[in-house]
């Protein structure tokens, strides 16, 4: 008798599984797929999402980086390289100025330590996440724009 019971209980357990898959097959509303490039227009990323480091510039092409290299020190894997030069201010003081802010996206782990360490909020992460390029060297970026200067308050 246990032989037949065995067969029956097995069949019931298998049918239960088929009921579940059958349920999802017949309820296309449960489909969870989001079609990515098609939904690009409606895609909404959370505001804290970190995708790429940027240096915001204001309308006069001024950034807020004083060239202190705190971000370079904070970065665990050498993503950032800050090149600076010395400038003599009108009142004859020597001041450090940002020359080039090099950001190697290929090494970045998006850990946010650079942004945390920045004393003047010069850098922040944006939400542009489509990083793929055809050449590796394109992933090395210069964040400060051509001919940009530091804002007056940091001068």
């Amino acid at each position: 008798m246990s032989y037949i019971e065995n067969i029956l209980s097995t069949s019931v357990s298998l049918l239960k599984g088929m009921k579940m898959t059958g349920y999802y097959f017949s309820h296309p509303k449960e489909i969870y797929t989001r079609q990515y490039p098609e939904n690009r227009k409606t895609l909404k990323l959370p505001e804290r999402f970190r995708a790429e480091l940027t240096m915001p510039h204001d309308e006069f092409n001024r950034h807020r980086c004083s060239g202190c290299t705190a971000c370079e020190i904070a970065c665990p894997n050498g993503t950032i390289k800050v090149l600076t030069y010395m400038e003599t201010t009108p009142d004859n003081k020597k001041k450090k100025r940002l020359d080039t802010f090099i950001y190697r996206l290929s090494m970045c782990t998006f850990c946010n330590l650079c942004v945390d360490s920045c004393p003047s909020d010069a850098i922040k992460f944006n939400q542009h996440f489509e990083h793929s390029v055809t050449e590796r060297k394109q992933l090395t970026k210069v964040l400060n724009r051509q001919g940009s200067t530091v804002t007056d308050e940091l001068k």
């Binding site: 298998l14 599984g17 088929m18 969870y32």
Partner: protein, 334 residues
């Protein structure tokens, strides 16, 4: 004569190509819907041309033969498996007029031919000179040899009930009702045993041990790539079609519309639907059932697989043949 043969050959090849495309697409969509995703969506509307694109890709892929492989057998195996699948198609009636070869031993012929598949799998697995392939091939051998028995016995039960080995005769015996309705318990049991055992013969989940993706990477066709792999895959789907067609013919009346009793109003309405549609509908229903199994169940282990056959399916189908014989002798079916 030659022209007829040519026409048949061309139509069979076309049927194969179309079946391959349709069934692969269907499998992917069925799987996707059960897995709460959409499946192929990019090529054509709802990804309808996806399989076509895949075929083009497979054809244009580099054909790799491993260094240590037995070249001749390695190339022969995918050819053999396709030829065997083609041969089994011959005696199946697609509708009341469409049948390639109306043999009077059709059931016997299909059973004999379809058991040859294992040879090509063994050949392919052995010739690959890969241990994964070899294990897969050996599993396949054990599996198909044992499940062939249950398939055969469930066919015997149906042959007993219908009293003929010819597929067209069997269809004609279901004029008043399909065997699944008038054959009582033996027909039911034979149907279930047939579906389970033939799923095993097809090497499909839950019996896909020769391939066993998570254990043997791809089993017997690990080393095959490009078109040779495509032929293995195509023959799997063709075999699935043949198995479903046999099941539909034996148990669900083949092309016969849904009839109850003789010559009544209901039967006449049903006759308006063409036989080919009936046939295709039943076949695809059974194919869907087999796909449903695949996307629900985990895989068995090799010893459990053999236990299922020798301890459960075989005794049950043996008793079932007796019961079918008893019913036939006493004439209890309608």
């Amino acid at each position: 004569m030659i022209i007829t043969a040519l026409i048949i050959a061309i139509s069979v090849i076309t049927l194969f190509a179309v079946l391959g495309l349709v069934l692969v697409y269907m499998e992917r969509k069925v799987a996707a819907f059960m897995q709460i995703r959409l499946g192929p969506m990019r090529v054509g509307p709802w990804g309808i041309a996806q399989t076509l694109a895949d075929t083009v890709k497979l054809i244009s892929k580099e054909d790799i033969i491993p260094n240590g492989a037995d070249k001749f057998l390695f190339n022969l195996a995918p050819l053999m498996v396709t030829v065997i699948a083609t041969l089994a198609l011959a005696p199946l009636p697609f509708s009341d007029k469409w049948i390639i070869w109306d043999s009077n031993v059709g059931v016997f012929y299909v059973a004999a031919i379809s058991s040859l598949t294992v040879i090509s799998i063994l050949t392919g697995g052995w010739a690959s000179n890969n241990k994964y392939s070899l294990i897969g091939a050996m599993r396949s051998g054990a599996q198909i040899v044992s499940y062939e028995l249950s398939v055969g016995l469930s066919l015997v039960a149906m042959v007993l009930l219908s009293g003929s080995l010819s597929f067209s005769d069997i269809v004609m015996t279901q004029q008043d009702a399909w065997w699944i309705f008038k054959g009582h318990l033996p027909a039911w049991i034979a149907f279930m045993v047939f579906i389970i055992a033939s799923t095993a013969e097809l090497n499909r989940n839950p019996f896909d041990l020769p391939e066993a993706e998570s254990e043997l990477t791809a089993g017997f066709h690990t080393e095959y790539s490009g078109m040779k792999f495509a032929l293995f895959m195509l023959s799997e789907y063709i075999n699935m079609f043949i198995v479903s067609a046999v099941a539909a013919t034996l148990f669900l009346g083949g092309w016969m519309p849904l009839h109850f009793g003789q010559d009544n109003f209901f039967n006449h309405i049903m006759d308006y639907i063409p036989p080919l549609v009936w046939f295709a509908g039943k076949v695809f229903f059974i194919i869907f059932l087999i796909m449903w199994f695949r996307w629900t169940f985990p895989r068995l282990r090799i010893d459990q697989l053999l236990t299922l056959e020798w301890k459960y399916l075989l005794p049950i189908s043996l008793i079932n043949v007796l019961a079918a014989a008893w019913i036939t002798v006493t004439g209890w079916h309608f």
